[in-house]
């Protein structure tokens, strides 16, 4: 469905100082039909820029790609006919009615009025939008509007849909609901989905396969589990009284395979191959020295850990430290 080779995009910085922002530095991508692929990375990593290139909104500075069976550079119109795109900020006009938006969208893809209405009714049923046709989109709730955006992206039955940060700005319940809908759409329509996210739980919950981008380059790809397997061991956080921190840390270092220590006042973080078996051992050892733990936490590796392992930064740090390129668009 998608094959990209060496996609690059540079932006000229505005103003007299000039200079260039190299937002995407050579991206290779392969997405098979029917896959649900998560494109993961911190803000400013180049996710949206890559997506905008693949959806014909932005011309690559270099590289080639075939999207939905059509060459991105030679036949952008062919690409447009075969893909759906749901932008990060949505795309419905506040002053338009829901049914008008769906009809316009379908007809711009060349569908007949009757075909759009039938398809619109089907999608409305699947996306819990039934009965909202006469409403102005500005009166919809955030979750409803997001589902309308998705309906707009699917109205012409594309084989490939791009979802840019689909759950950003939704409350937890609407997010979980949206995830259900995305999974169901994929199951019922067999549509290939390429979604970007900077939420690890979203990538973990939805995607068959993840592609991780950082600083304009692909840094890893694989299933969520295979990526997590790259992180060695479970994370452990032990809380103790500040004055005994050093003693407690020394005790923890005796555990077989314990590594990656990060010790601050009253808090010891490290990784250990088997958190579940290491904990009783640590408890006994600390107890023998008369050190009392105030808290303990064991976590299975998360995609955040994966990101940390891959890039040496946590996803959150990456977002704070990322140089924000001149954003070429809003939303």
């Amino acid at each position: 469905m998608i094959t990209a080779r060496g996609l690059e995009r540079r932006f000229r910085r505005k103003g007299r100082s000039g200079g260039e922002v190299h937002a995407v530095k050579g991206v290779d991508l392969d997405v098979e039909a029917g896959e649900l692929v998560g494109f993961l990375g911190p803000n400013g990593a180049g996710k949206t820029t890559t997506l905008r290139m693949l959806t014909t909104l932005l011309k690559p500075s270099a590289g080639t790609a075939t999207v939905g069976g059509h060459d991105l550079l030679a036949d952008p119109l062919g690409v447009r006919r075969n893909i759906g795109y749901v932008a990060q900020g949505g795309g419905s006009a506040p002053e338009s009615r829901v049914d008008e938006e769906i009809e316009l969208q379908g007809r711009l893809y060349g569908m007949s009025k009757a075909a759009v209405q039938a398809r619109g009714a089907l999608l409305a049923g699947q996306l819990d939008l039934t009965g909202l046709g006469g409403r102005l989109t500005k009166t919809l709730s955030g979750g409803q509007r997001r589902r309308l955006d998705i309906a707009l992206g699917l109205v012409h039955s594309p084989g490939l849909v791009f979802l840019d940060e689909p759950s950003t700005g939704l409350d937890p319940q609407s997010r979980a609901n949206l995830w259900d809908h995305i999974r169901r759409l994929r199951a019922e329509h067999g549509v290939t989905i390429f979604l970007t996210t900077h939420y690890l739980d979203e990538a973990d919950a939805l995607a068959d396969r993840l592609i991780v981008i950082d600083d304009g380059r692909i840094v890893a790809e694989g299933t969520p589990d295979s990526l997590k397997a790259r992180v060695s061991g479970d994370g452990v956080v032990v809380g103790v009284e500040p004055e005994v921190t050093t003693a407690a840390a020394d005790t923890a270092r005796q555990l077989t395979g314990a590594h990656d220590f990060d010790v601050e006042d009253g808090l010891i973080r490290f990784r250990v191959p088997r958190g579940d078996t290491a904990m009783p051992e640590l408890l006994r050892a600390l107890d023998a020295k008369g050190i009392v733990m105030s808290s303990i936490q064991v976590t299975r590796p998360t995609l955040d850990d994966v990101f940390l392992t891959l890039t040496g930064r946590s996803l959150r740090d990456a977002e704070q430290g990322a140089p924000q390129p001149e954003v070429p668009h809003v939303a």
Partner: protein
């Protein structure tokens, strides 16, 4: 592309008709001029012998030109709103013709300008005994249409180039005020009345010729001399504006 243009045109018309009150609010300014300034101007023009025809024949065509000039210049705001809400992007991913995205909107704006002009002319007829020939009024409406097409295209192109709700109106006001004053909308800038330098500057202003041709067609003067310059000017401007607008819509990243 015709189908796409029609779809976009219909979308914008449906939007405009959803709140028809705005069409009326849009003509408040020319209406205020018509009622609160018109009687004074007309009396002055007639008393001073500054015009060879009735003062209403001078003011009414100028007001509809002003309406097209100002009303259509600010339509870019709606595009900025569409841009912010992601509508522009959403439409750009569809196979819709880029030119249709512009033309559909521009035609909807121009039609609204014509309808508003008709309202003003009807009021001037009913309330102030405006007495203009039907043929002349129809021609003036055609020119209003072209003028609105020109300004709406430019407005969209400018809005999409600037992409800023702050600089867009500031720039528009800076450009529109001199254009308005130098087109002699309120009092015709004639060789007899104006100092020579002012007259010369006004001749450079294309909109002056459009206002002239509006006035000439209103008084039923269909001679080559009266219509040629203004008609050519407005046609050329409309073509250039659509070219600029289409180019901006087609250009990447716009």
């Amino acid at each position: 592309m015709l189908r796409d243009t029609w779809l976009i045109f219909r979308r914008d018309m449906v939007g405009a008709l959803r709140n028809p009150a705005w069409l009326l609010i849009g003509i408040m300014q020319p209406l205020l001029y018509l009622f609160f300034f018109g009687p004074l101007l007309v009396k002055t023009l007639n008393a001073q012998g500054l015009s060879d025809v009735d003062g209403w024949m001078v003011l009414t065509p100028a007001l509809i030109a002003q309406l097209a000039l100002f009303g259509s210049s600010f339509v870019g705001f709606s595009l900025l709103a569409d841009f912010r809400s992601g509508v522009v992007e959403r439409l750009r991913v569809t196979p819709v013709s880029r030119a249709a995205l512009l033309l559909g909107k521009v035609l909807a704006n121009a039609l609204q300008a014509v309808v508003q002009s008709i309202l003003i002319i009807v009021l001037a007829y009913l309330v102030f005994d405006l007495n203009a020939p039907v043929g002349g009024v129809l021609l003036s409406l055609l020119i209003v249409f072209l003028l609105a097409v020109t300004l709406a295209s430019c407005s969209y192109a400018l809005a999409l180039t600037l992409k800023s709700e702050q600089s867009f109106p500031a720039l528009l006001n800076a450009v529109l005020m001199p254009l308005l004053l130098l087109s002699g909308i309120l009092i015709p800038i004639t060789a007899g009345l104006a100092p020579k330098w002012l007259y010369t500057i006004s001749q450079i202003n294309p909109f002056r010729h459009v206002v002239d041709v509006e006035r000439n067609s209103f008084r039923g003067d269909f001679s080559m001399d009266a219509l040629f310059t203004g008609s050519v000017v407005v046609l050329v401007m409309a073509v250039l504006a659509i070219w600029w607008g289409t180019r901006t819509f087609q250009r990447e990243n716009a």
